[in-house]
Symmetry: C2
Subunit: 368 residues, 2 copies
């Protein structure tokens, strides 16, 4: 479109956004990018995936294929990713060639549970008590310190409940340690929480920060099932959660959309939040924003990583997001017929159990 870019870092419509990963998050980023005249180039190892169907270009190659990465970097103006487990070497390789948003520090901190928890604790934010576990001896000492129940989690590559095991009253510690593959791990003390909430927010290249309203999450079998907004917490608790997200993003020099998952503990005046996890990417608990906010998390992410002004994060009403997992997507026709329901399907070919196939949002007028 030959449009002049505004500032040094900012791109203009017509630019090419490179996305690492080709799942539904990449697909929804690409759909939002198209609205803003941004072309997308997907880099992923699979020959078929949800994002390829809606992107202008694709590279099918391993994340370790430096020749393919170099061609990809040449073909794009900025690089982002849809998942936090981008190999560090891949991120480093790309960031030497093109702007990578979010940056390498955000990846390094959030790829490792121990560094993530240490980072959050050093900001003065509350996290569940934790101990590093590098041996069975460490695990025994950690359980002695934090008690049972507690949760043993691998430091790397855990998601949706994978790579973790609960330490209950009768759990054999050697078996538990074997169950996670005797990998470097973290033991987390059990937190008795009333609610699980998350902040989905964005930080721009100029440091501006915009948070969507705090949302409340309901998990089933360790997988997000529902998100509801507003969260049923006090205004000070919501403010504290959003302030925690702001501090985390600032400390990481973050650019893009991210999510902070938190536990709400205590009641009434003692209600407060405990940081559980940071996701350096658009997040399932932000899917409600597509119809529920002035700017969707996907549009916001594209704005942020392209150096555009952030959009309004204002909410449009009471909102519910329901994940369609496995066979739940077979309800598509009923959902299309449901007044006010907005169906989003990811174009996946087979509905395996536990697989996220799509989601639905519902928006109602605010209670007055």
């Amino acid at each position: 479109m030959s449009m002049p870019a505004f500032a040094g870092q900012a791109l203009a419509p017509g630019a090419v956004l490179g996305i690492i990963g080709g799942g539904q998050l990449a697909r929804m980023i690409a759909l939002a990018a198209a609205d803003l005249g941004i072309r997308c180039h997907i880099f992923a190892p699979e020959t078929e995936n949800p994002a390829f169907d809606v992107a202008a270009a694709r590279t099918v190659a391993a994340y370790e294929d430096e020749a393919a990465l170099a061609r990809f970097a040449d073909a794009v103006d900025v690089v982002t990713y849809e998942f936090e487990n981008v190999p560090a070497a891949t991120a480093a390789f790309l960031s030497q060639r093109k702007p990578l948003h979010p940056g390498a520090r955000a990846l390094a901190v959030t790829q490792d549970r121990l560094s993530e928890k240490s980072f959050v604790a050093e900001l003065g934010l509350e996290v569940a008590p934790f101990r590093a576990v590098d041996s069975l001896g460490d695990l025994e000492a950690a359980v002695a310190a934090l008690g049972r129940p507690s949760v043993l989690k691998t430091r790397r590559l855990g998601y949706d409940g994978k790579g973790q095991v609960r330490i209950l009253a009768g759990t054999d510690l050697a078996e538990a340690y074997a169950a996670i593959g005797r990998q470097p791990a973290v033991l987390e003390g059990f937190v008795t929480f009333a609610r699980e909430v998350s902040v989905v927010a964005a930080r721009g290249t100029d440091g501006t920060f915009a948070a969507f309203d705090l949302c409340e999450n309901e998990h089933r079998d360790h997988i997000l099932a529902f998100t509801r907004v507003p969260a049923q917490v006090s205004a000070p608790t919501e403010a504290a959660a959003i302030e925690a997200a702001r501090q985390i993003a600032a400390a990481l020099g973050y650019v893009g959309v991210f999510a902070v998952e938190l536990f709400v503990v205590g009641e009434g005046a003692s209600e407060r939040v405990v940081v559980n996890e940071i996701a350096p990417r658009v997040h399932n608990s932000g899917h409600w924003t597509s119809e529920g906010a002035q700017t969707s998390q996907f549009h916001q992410h594209v704005r942020a990583v392209c150096g555009f002004p952030l959009g309004s994060a204002a909410r449009r009403g009471r909102v519910e997001m329901e994940n369609l997992i496995g066979d739940a997507a077979l309800r598509w026709r009923d959902l299309l017929a449901e007044p006010g329901a907005h169906l989003h399907l990811y174009g996946k070919h087979s509905a395996r159990p536990g697989r996220k196939m799509g989601h639905v949002t519902r928006v109602w007028p605010e209670r007055s």
Copy 2:
């Protein structure tokens, strides 16, 4: 996705929608289709166009290339189009192989101004007075009957003011007839109108009908500049416009989204609508629905042509759509920074004067 289709005609997510034409309307249909898990295959003669960037598959070939059309038909489950000037032979060829929505009758009627006006008049709906013009003698007789000012329009291939010439007090009729290339034409009597409005509506494979609220259009240099909703007309006038659209769709056995452009004439109790033009496709005056209605015209079109239930056409507030024509798209950064403005760019590479580059929607709460 291996999802069972519901009825004989209905498709299921995972189906492939073939779209004839690759401009911004095809692009926005493809983006909406992706939300519903529908893959799109674009057929267009250009090697680059706005829709290719967001579609799963493309065929670059002439509309007369029957071998390419046959392969395209084999690859898709249903065919639609983004413009009403699809050659009749192309439409006939495809409709023998796959369902074509909207169908051949809608194309035949709307591709020819004379047949369109005759069709509308035969439904008992008011149109501007008109006469067929096949010779200079016809034109002289028609001007004698309908007076000056009047407008001479080619029967085929006119859009955005092209293919028409005004017959004013001093206009030489031979020159006017030469100016439109001495083609088969229609002379239309001049209608003194207060407003230009349009109904954008959908009809499903089962005959269900859903109209968006009547919108008011402001043209500049014969090109749509703004659409505003609600239109400033009386409730009976809006109802009459929507009833006209319903009758037109039913008489055509129409499936998909379409627009009826109308003039509002008279005032107060004598206010009424005169049908100007039918567009058998999603329409620029329906772009406000993306953020301004529960279901966008693009989602609605995909639902209709796939045999899915129609979505709610309810409006979300007062809405304005502003077209970004030519250099107006250079305002992209200001528009991104404008609270509540939703920018849509079409990914076109050069901003020629008069070229539609994108649009903006703005939604405000209903006045109470």
